[in-house]
């Protein structure tokens, strides 16, 4: 690891003042420190925000829904009775990530900001497009773990389990920077990387994620997170699905289907949702939704298996939600 300076900020203003080019906030450090050890991120200064009293870290319910502090750990999300009852897919997603040790350290904010796990991106000797290179070597290389959607110059997939669940709950992200606070829909915060901006979020360099807000949902809303991995635990998703469903008299009143592991950002399957809303819940409708969810997928040489796998997970998620309703 290259030398860097470390500051533990006492106030939010001080922390933001210390951020900027060459600096990074340090919370759990479960991705930042490995990136630095692998010589993939060159940061002169780490600003420790873990002890900032000004950053909420609790999970609080108010009239606007549920506010999740950016410093809440994945373990805390997984164990939250509020989330388990009302936003179950999120608690399940947090619980499906990484290992107990990592979940105890990793924060929600850091989880949303972690970089892709693509093995070309993570290899210090490979100048892939996302790191400023000319080409994406995964496109014609070893791409069993890579994207079906997005049509981006990078075919890495977004690594976060919670992000897919949060998107399915129409979450907002609260950001704080020198100019004060702003709130973005998660769907605007997570962005496909482009030539102008080779990163997966719209966070500015001197900004921090301070909280994530989940919109209120009627209590009859059901949700689920399913994740397919190479082994039983401690692996990023090959494919995952976060599904939210609300039935009114057996008809589907509300549906969100978000796929993980298929695009550089969590991928909302609008066509699948459209195939569901207004229909009576049932195997035939779920099958049509599963088919619609993968419409437009452009598999690479090594990841075609993700289509039947994703369809199976969508069908299964919807089936379980309908059974629970």
């Amino acid at each position: 690891m290259r030398p860097f300076s470390y500051s533990s900020a006492r106030t939010l203003d001080e922390a933001i003042g210390l951020l900027g080019a060459g600096a990074r906030p340090l919370a759990g450090g479960t991705d930042l420190l490995p990136l630095m050890k692998a010589d993939l991120g060159h940061f002169d200064r780490l600003v420790d925000i873990k002890r900032l009293a000004a950053l909420p870290r609790r999970i609080e319910e108010n009239g606007e829904g549920v506010v999740l502090g950016a410093l809440a750990t994945l373990s805390e999300l997984a164990a939250s009775p509020t989330l388990q009852e009302r936003y179950r897919a999120l608690a399940q997603a947090a619980d499906a990530a990484a290992t107990p040790q990592l979940r105890n350290m990793a924060t929600l904010g850091g989880n949303l900001l972690q970089r892709p796990r693509c093995w070309y991106f993570r290899h210090s000797r490979i100048p892939c497009w996302l790191k400023g290179g000319e080409n994406c070597p995964a496109r014609d290389g070893e791409n069993r773990e890579h994207a079906l959607f997005g049509d981006a110059p990078c075919v890495a997939v977004h690594p976060s389990d919670p992000a897919a669940a949060l998107l399915a709950f129409d979450a907002d992200v609260r950001l704080v920077g020198r100019a004060g606070e702003r709130t973005l829909a998660l769907s605007d915060f997570l962005r496909l990387p482009s030539d102008r901006r080779r990163v997966e979020t719209s966070l500015a360099e001197e900004e921090l994620v301070s909280a994530v807000r989940l919109a209120p949902h009627p209590p009859e809303t059901k949700s689920i997170y399913l994740k397919a991995m190479d082994r039983k635990v401690w692996a990023f998703a090959l494919v995952s699905v976060a599904a939210v469903l609300r039935l009114a008299e057996r008809r589907i009143a509300h549906a969100r289907i978000v796929l993980g592991g298929v695009a550089p950002i969590p991928w909302r399957a609008h066509a699948a949702e459209a195939a569901l809303v207004g229909q009576a819940a049932g195997a035939g409708v779920f099958e049509r939704a599963a088919q619609a969810a993968l419409e437009g997928a452009r598999p690479l040489a090594g990841n075609g298996y993700k289509l039947p796998l994703a369809r199976a997970l969508v069908r299964r998620a919807l089936g379980e939600l309908a059974d629970a309703a």
Partner: protein
Amino acid sequence: MRREPEHGVVGRPHPRIEAPDKVTGRARYSADVRLPGQLQARILRSPHPHARVVGVDTGAAAALPGVRAVISSADAPAIRWYEKSLLFDTTLRFAGDEVAAVAAETEEIAEDALRLIRVEYQPLPFNVSLEDGARGEADVYRRGDAARGLREAEVVVEQVYTTQTALHNALEPHGCVAAWEGERLVLYESTQGVFSVRDGVAEALGLAKDAVRVVTPHMGGGFGAKQIAWKHSVIAALLARRAGRPVQILLERDAENLAAGNRNATRQRVRLGARRDGTLTAVEARILMQVGAYSAGGESSAVAGIYSTLYRCANVHTEQVQVFTNTGPAIAFRAPGYAEGAFGLESAMDELARALRMDPIELRLRNYAERHQEKDKPYTSPESLRRCYERVKEASAAFERQHRGKRRRGIGFAAGDWIAGSGSPPGYAWVRLEDEQHATVITGAQDIGTGTRTALCQVAADELGLPLENVSIQIGDSGAGPYGPTSHGSTTLATLGPAVRAAAEAARENRHGEGARGPNPQGKAVRTCGAQCAQVEVDLETGEITVLRLAAAHDCGLVVNPLLVDSQVLGAVTQGVGFALFEERRVDRASGLVLNANLEEYKVPTAADAPEVRNVTLSMPDLEANVLGSKGIGEPPIIPAAPAIANAVFDAVGVRIRDLPLLREKLLEALGR
């Protein structure tokens, strides 16, 4: 032939005597060594799969404050390595090959210094795949006439099976501390062969063997990859000499996975011929094995071995061809060759049983071998594999199938034998009586982590009629005890156990006893073998495989400590699950770089992946093998695991994947067809 043990310490499930040291952190490993003035070293490795070093400039690195020694091809002595190469060669043959090294006051300074070394590389053409590599000469074995046997067969199975490059990933990477005491070198090394490292390092440095002392009190796993002297030990010694201070060098996880050995990938074209009644008329295997850039030495990988011994067959033809590629050198990995060969042979036997509509155990019994056919000698334990078949059949009787619904369940069977495990003399031990009630066992050899300490103390206690807690042991120091073999081939207990027993017997007379392991039997062959049955669940829609239960029965002779045997069976089966389902080194063909030389993307099995293992191994003393009657168990249980799992997957879903690991893409594609 010796009598059975009398005193009841042998055969009891004693927890490891070193367990308190390990769980409290008192046990010291190479990384824990802190000598006065000790420096930290790091190695610069080739970023290219094949390149010539045109120039190396280490000036800026050497000038960095805190740097105490630098070495590279520009100034290193011309020490022969990997047969035809050098310690620091100017031709680099895999990404990860050693280019230069630095010793500094801290590891951070050493890493900074590596970045200051300027190397001019001339990249050369490369190949990284088994198909494209340079082929060596075929190693051919023939018995009878396989072509005729195939012509006479009523049923023929002909298939190609492939296995992947697997990485050892011992918890503790390779590493050592090198310290010169005058002209004598002490190495605190993580090794499974203190004498093999001593000999290799002494030869490289032109020293007498007794001028090198290798110390390994504890080690965090080897699995075969730590059985030779690797470059890092000699590099540490050279840096220590240049700096005049001890040097610690610990491989980073990626270096460990690039340059410290792997299980060779294989391609096995197999033909089995049989009569309708199941009698084998021919066994033929043509094998390619990817050895990587160099022959690293150590135990050989005999992929063909199992094809010629496991079943009785008059007509056998095997060919084994080494393929050289620009990838890290292969080295023995738990049952080297046999784990790979068993996947081919035991998958093919399963296919044959299906073609014949025969029970898989019935087919194996029909072709039961009571002699070692290659050596043309009877086995010392001719009935033991039959008993393993019976035990596994009983233990798996309750494993049920489920051939309906989305989650199918199937059962798969496989057997295995192992080339070694009978002990590899010579091996020596001393036993010293401290008083009437206390004794110390001394041997130079190491405990690879299998519980050698505990087992040897049990053998001594038993012989002396003492309680186990009254026997202590000094182990893992080539300078402080007599010679013992490298812990490979599952031979340590079978070699040193009899030596300890003889030493203890002698000590009863004279307070100090010296014992030697006698030779292996001449007129007979010793076999370690076993059988396993796996029950798996396969999700038809997602391709997910879950190994639910696995029954294992092995012949390891006399069981000295059933807890230690259990842990070897559990560990080997778990490693077999990884080999069967997801472990695989990935190399980018365009760049020749390894993409998953880490524990995040190279997936080893977790506790959640391990099945419920029913180890039904019986103690079957093999007193013709050696006077103790024990044989090895460290490696054999990995041999049948992957084919048993793959055969169970076929049983569950009716599609056969002949290419390890059984990843979802393969299964989903086959199921979709």
